[in-house]
Symmetry: C2
């Protein structure tokens, strides 16, 4: 088994100020290629610490991806540490310097000593041009390990991984056990309930493992199948997907990269239907979610945020006595908001929600986190009461999902 290790350098990573998003991204993609990461090390911009990390990795790992410290500033010395670890000198890489010179002269700048430093790489390293930035990527062997040095800037690192690193690992990927992952995205079902629903699935499909991840209020199920024959692995993954979806039911709204908004957009397109929203506590979150997929203007026509009660009456046209009688946070208000929005925007469906986001409550005395959602459509109106006992932000996000999920279920 190929042992893969990641080394990330940078003081900012160890101060807890910057969260390292490169590593999870890279880990997921390497694992998907049958090259799971065995170890990850994070060190400060400190020469002895970097050299020690490189040396240790060179003794225990086959593939080592090092990120950070290739920039032009004084705290960028990863190339220098790589040369020291390998026991080779640094050399000027002329093509890199030339490219840098061209790049800078286009912006009316001349190459300084700092930039020249950026073109210095360990002797014997294979330099790989970086079309995403100025720092070159390079590859070299130290001890047991094939080392790849990449800039730490996420856009550069991700671009270089896709275009340069992964293709260079193709032979290892081909030799690795096949591993295919599919994520089933779910809403409205707890992780424990998903766990229960899928109990026994790994026993029913050989080579299958089940994992869970949460991006609230969504819960995702990961189905992973490993094996040696591609057709067999694909077939097993398909079988597992069908079985899992059957057990989870309509709580599963999408697969892999299909977002909640994509799912609803797809259903609206299929129904050739249009939509609008009327929102109080969510203040535009429902509409903003609906507008995420490209081409959302095909179905989303508009939204009215009626944050103040006066706006619910003056713009949306709610009867004055309704709010006085029932209160703004009520089933009656939610339904009426949906009905009025449907008429105001001339759409097939309107979604509404009203509630108490917190931290303060209102005169009604209902607990913070109380939310009423409503849906108005060609086949009638519906409404639902919810209770989310979270802090303000999360109450609003959960309310938006709840309101939109009623639409999704109506369109299934």
């Amino acid at each position: 088994m190929t042992r893969v290790e990641l080394i990330a350098t940078g003081d900012e990573l160890l101060n807890g100020v910057i969260v390292d998003t490169n590593s999870p991204w890279l880990m997921e993609r390497l694992a998907a290629r049958g090259l799971p990461v065995a170890q990850k090390v994070m060190v400060r911009d400190d020469r002895p610490a970097i050299v020690e990390a490189l040396r240790s990795a060179s003794l225990r790992s086959d593939i080592v991806v090092v990120s950070g410290g290739l920039g032009p500033t004084a705290d960028d010395f990863t190339a220098e540490c790589a040369a020291a670890t390998a026991g080779v000198p640094l050399e000027l890489h002329q093509a890199t310097l030339d490219a840098l010179t061209v790049r800078m002269s286009k912006r009316g700048l001349t190459v300084g000593e700092n930039n020249r430093r950026q073109a210095m790489v360990p002797a014997g390293a294979t330099v790989i041009a970086n079309r995403f930035g100025t720092a070159p990527m390079f590859e070299m062997t130290i001890g047991r390990g094939r080392f790849f040095f990449l800039p730490g800037v996420p856009r550069e690192l991700m671009g270089l991984c896709e275009e340069e690193l992964f293709p260079r690992l193709a032979d290892l990927v081909a030799a690795a056990p096949l591993r295919r992952v599919r994520y089933l995205r779910c809403y409205g079902i707890a992780e424990s309930a998903l766990d229960q629903a899928l109990a026994g699935l790994p026993e029913a499909v050989a080579g299958l493992s089940v994992s869970f991840r949460t991006t609230l209020p969504e819960n995702h199920v990961g189905l992973t199948v490993t094996g040696s024959d591609a057709a067999e692995v694909d077939e097993k993954l398909q079988t597992a997907t069908v079985m899992a979806r059957e057990r989870i039911g309509t709580a599963c709204f999408g697969v892999d990269g299909q977002t909640f908004a994509d799912a609803i957009g797809g259903l609206l397109r299929r129904a050739r239907a249009t939509v609008a929203t009327a929102e109080s506590l969510t203040a535009g979150l429902c509409a903003a979610l609906l507008a995420e997929p490209p081409g959302a203007s095909d179905y989303l026509k508009g939204a009215l945020v009626a944050y103040a009660d006066a706006v619910k009456e003056s713009v949306l046209g709610l009867p004055v006595d309704l709010l006085a009688r029932e209160g703004a946070v009520s089933e009656a208000a939610a339904v009426e908001m949906a009905r009025r929005a449907r008429a105001l925007f001339g759409v097939d469906y309107a979604v509404a929600c009203t509630g108490l986001a917190g931290p303060a409550g209102d005169a009604s005395g209902q607990p913070v986190g109380t939310v009423f959602t409503a849906l108005s459509g060609p086949s009638g109106d519906e409404t639902k009461k919810h209770f989310f006992g979270f802090e303000r932000d999360r109450n609003r996000r959960f309310a938006a999902y709840a309101a939109l999920d009623a639409l999704r279920r109506r369109l299934l």
Copy 2:
């Protein structure tokens, strides 16, 4: 200087499926106590790898915080690895087993072999009761290092750090140099421009260092002052803050935890003014941002998302010939949207934006990323053309910030 190291164990961390949120949390808090983390290592649930990580840390670090692998399941064997590294046997910790027995009997369960395993700790270790869960925390010395072993569940780890770990490091904290950090949150200024604006500041204030972090479209400047005298450090931080704000100017909207929405909300409150929005490409993002701070209903009255041109005319009341003549993505449309929203909602200020989020353009032929924002208020109207050459999500987010920043600047 005390060398601090973190070791996190767990397959899920190295598959990129779970993002390790414990470490940044712990790093920030340790740094604030003058004990910055020098190195972090992540290893899989693999005995030789964990032992090797513990052994290396015992040679190079003074304080080592190890998380994960203390649970009851088969892949939890951190205590066993700690014992192996220290060369001591595992021993049953009776008080832990007793506490576990009580806890489980309350839920009608009896203690099994798995739970008994959880009560096994390295001989000589100091066991620290965990009131947040079932796995005990323990402390022991291996080589140069004082090791603290904690469960990986964030709620348990964070609780135990606050109540047990940090107090146990009190003597080190007292001896560490004082360190105070302040963040200046900025919008509308590039990181390179901030860097330039603050050049020479660390030379002007002894003990000051300047750092940068980005959460687009915001850029934050970190001012860190270290020293030995608390009053002196606080005074220097204050001096540095004043100097930095003077140099950055109005691009700095807030300090530390004060968000963009907090800043605008504060200005609206000060002016006793109300606000509404009229949005096209942002589809509610401006209003949703304005609604983030608690009590936002004091100033936010409503919003109209006019995603379809027909809605811009029918609900917002834009003249029919205006869209035909100028197009929906135009300065004229933006200004008229703001004016009409101000009248419709009866507010002091209205913010509007219209533009092309992409990926597809429109009939006007303007490039994707073209955005017009407008502000209408008691002292007049203003409008601005922007170009954001990003992907759809980011274009929308940048547009919302640009629209709201005009309001912020008007209220300064």
